[in-house]
């Protein structure tokens, strides 16, 4: 188990290194220097050169990369080219919006997916099961931004229950939560609809498994057998999907934050792209990559808790 863990962590570190190189290279070869963008088209070449030297963007790419990577390892994300503010605190502040939003959406997704998928599986082949299956298809087919705008029209404009945009900050927790409701539903519904397909498939697999029949031959009802014998086994494929879904939620948050004008990581990223604030973009992308890699690591480790067969393979 320890050697397995060490191996997996090593893979994460190597992947992170690869991701950092790719992110840096792609953004580094973009035409137009940051100094030029900051100073505008009217700036003299001399002023641009001076600012480039000040920002360090005139040095060779590999020097810039090492400087950036060194800072990352020390936890220093650098200063924004545009605002000259340190980037770390900006991202940290944005995370206080994006983090709760993603978790909130995940909870909503699970609350949608479990009953919908379970119902579709239990009533498989009956009208109600087909209806539940069709409902999830509709949920998948509606794009995030369309769903979000629809929700705004209904719950913010027609029935002003929730705010349609903005975020008051966590100093007012009630208001803050309320302003996350619509974005979280927008994000969560789609992911929940997708997840429900997997829940349905996974539960159906369990219902048709031989060991569930054995469980029933012992005298358990169908529901009891599913609960005691099916759930843990059904979780194995679902955890994989859940990990991927969580990554998708983080990416989806970027769109949703802009629909609802939330000052989260997504908005920070889009603004940085607009201003060609390259260092901010690099930092955010590498952080998202790190989070996704860690989620995948946790998913892999969870197999060990859920399935004793995987546990034994890991020991070999």
């Amino acid at each position: 188990m320890i050697s397995y863990l060490a191996r997996r962590v090593a893979i994460v570190l190597v992947s992170l290194f690869g991701a950092s190189v790719v992110v840096f290279a792609v953004l580094g070869i973009l035409p137009g220097s940051p100094a030029q963008v900051i100073l505008g088209t009217q700036a003299t070449p001399q002023a641009v050169r001076q600012l480039s030297a000040q920002l360090g963007t005139n040095k060779p790419l590999w020097v810039q990369y090492l400087h950036w990577a060194h800072g990352l390892l020390l936890g220093q994300l650098g200063r924004s080219y545009v605002s000259q503010q340190p980037i770390g605190p900006q991202i940290a502040r944005a995370l206080t919006v994006t983090g709760p939003l993603v978790l909130f959406a995940l909870v909503i997704g699970a609350l949608v997916a479990l009953p919908l998928g379970l119902g579709a599986a239990l009533y498989n082949g009956k009208v109600s099961g087909t209806f539940l299956g069709a409902l999830s298809q509709v949920g998948i087919a509606v794009p995030t931004f369309v769903g979000g705008i629809l929700l705004i029209i209904v719950f913010a404009v027609a029935l002003p229950v929730f705010p349609s945009s903005g975020f008051p900050g966590w100093s007012q927790p009630g208001q803050a939560l309320r302003s996350l409701v619509l974005p979280a539903i927008t994000l969560g519904l789609v992911e929940g609809a997708i997840l429900s397909r997997y829940v349905r498939a996974s539960v159906l697999d369990q219902l048709h498994s031989d060991y569930l029949r054995t469980a029933r031959s012992k005298g358990l009802s169908r529901a009891q057998a599913l609960w005691h014998h099916g759930m843990r086994n059904a979780m194995v494929p679902l955890v994989t999907v859940l990990g991927l879904e969580l990554a998708a939620l983080i990416v989806g948050a970027i769109i949703v934050e802009n629909v609802f004008s939330l000052p989260g990581v997504g908005q920070l990223l889009l603004n940085a792209v607009d201003n060609r604030d390259l260092l901010v973009v690099q930092d955010i992308v590498i952080l998202v990559a790190a989070v996704v890699l860690v989620i995948n690591l946790l998913v892999d480790l969870s197999y060990h808790l859920l399935d004793p067969r995987v546990r034994d393979e890991g020991q070999r």
């Binding site: 082949g125 029933r216 031959s217 012992k218 358990l220 399935d307 004793p308």
Partner: protein
């Protein structure tokens, strides 16, 4: 009194296709009945229908009496009470039939928790005892293992421990050794034989190994094409079968158990079992039967004396019209 009585059991697929077609069979208290026939004859479906564990898409009609109680008329709650307690089942594929993510001891003790209300600890202790009774080495350690850590034979012993845990009145064993290595089949069957004797319970043994049936069973039921084609005392049916299908099964199994035939060719039953729905009208076996005549286009009834009955227009004891006696 008859313990378990199946009457006119029909199991049909969604299109109305009968996979089991009007099967009747009785099991007396403590009796051992062998249910034989090739794959696709409806043996397993018959057992599953008795358990009430057919897939949802299959529809069972007829009656299954347990004592005086018609199980098909009983509530699902009542059926759950009987399952695992009075009637238990051993499945064919022990790897698939055991939960891969639950420790063996817990799976064995579960039945006692359901029907005897045992607590977690008492059930765990009882499970270790049961694992010892099915002759697993180091039952204490086995109880803490997962199914994939056991061999095929050991897994089937675990299945047996589950099946006998609540002293059932009847055990339905669906080809309990088919999935096992030939070398362990015999020992697993010997164990089943001993457990059934110790528990004084009745046994419905589904198999196509006639040597096993002749050693373990009192009576034999032959099924083909979803129907019972012959039923009678084991000693009589396995020495002088009346149905050509039973005889054919007997010939093939004798050839396997005795030394290889001199010409190196194993006898086989002509043709193969048709897919469900592709059986001929009339006698289901007539396409493959050496004794068939035009009469076989009409379904023969199961007829005979009180102990031995056969569904054949030309049972082996009688000559076939127009041909010489075999």
């Amino acid at each position: 009194m008859t313990l378990l009585s199946v009457r006119d059991l029909t199991v049909s697929a969604p299109g109305g296709l009968a996979l089991v077609d009007g099967v009747s069979l009785d099991i007396e208290k403590g009796e051992r009945v062998g249910l034989i026939g090739e794959s696709g004859s409806g043996k397993s479906l018959t057992a599953l229908a008795v358990m009430g564990l057919l897939g949802e898409e299959l529809k069972a009609t007829g009656h299954v009496f347990f004592g005086n109680e018609d199980l098909f008329a009983a509530s699902e709650r009542r059926r759950c009470q009987l399952r695992g307690d009075a009637i238990s089942m051993i499945f064919q594929e022990p790897m698939m039939a055991l939960n891969p993510t639950m420790r063996v001891g817990k799976q064995v003790g579960e039945t006692l928790r359901i029907h005897r209300g045992l607590g977690r600890r008492a059930a765990a202790r009882a499970a270790v005892d049961l694992l010892g009774r099915v002759e697993l080495p180091d039952p204490q350690r086995c109880a803490m293992m997962y199914p994939h850590e056991l061999s095929g034979g050991q897994r089937q012993r675990v299945m047996m421990a589950i099946a006998i845990s609540c002293d059932p009145d009847v055990v339905l064993a669906d080809e309990p050794t088919t999935a096992l290595d030939v070398t362990v089949q015999r020992r697993v069957l010997e164990l089943l034989d001993r457990l059934v004797a110790e528990e004084h319970c009745a046994l419905l043994l589904i198999t196509h190994d006639l040597a096993v049936v002749s050693e373990m069973c009192d009576r034999v039921v032959t099924m083909y094409g979803g129907r019972v084609v012959e039923v009678g005392p084991a000693a009589r049916m396995l020495t002088s079968p009346a149905h050509p299908y039973t005889e054919a099964l007997l010939e093939t199994s004798l050839a396997v158990s005795v030394d290889a035939p001199s010409d190196g060719v194993l006898p086989a039953i002509a043709g193969s079992v048709p897919a469900a729905g592709a059986f001929p009208t009339g006698c289901p076996f007539r396409d493959r039967c050496p004794r068939r005549t035009e009469a076989c286009e009409v379904t023969p009834p199961l007829a005979g004396d009180g102990t031995h009955a056969v569904a054949c227009w030309w049972p082996i004891a009688q000559p076939v019209a127009g041909t010489s006696t075999r």
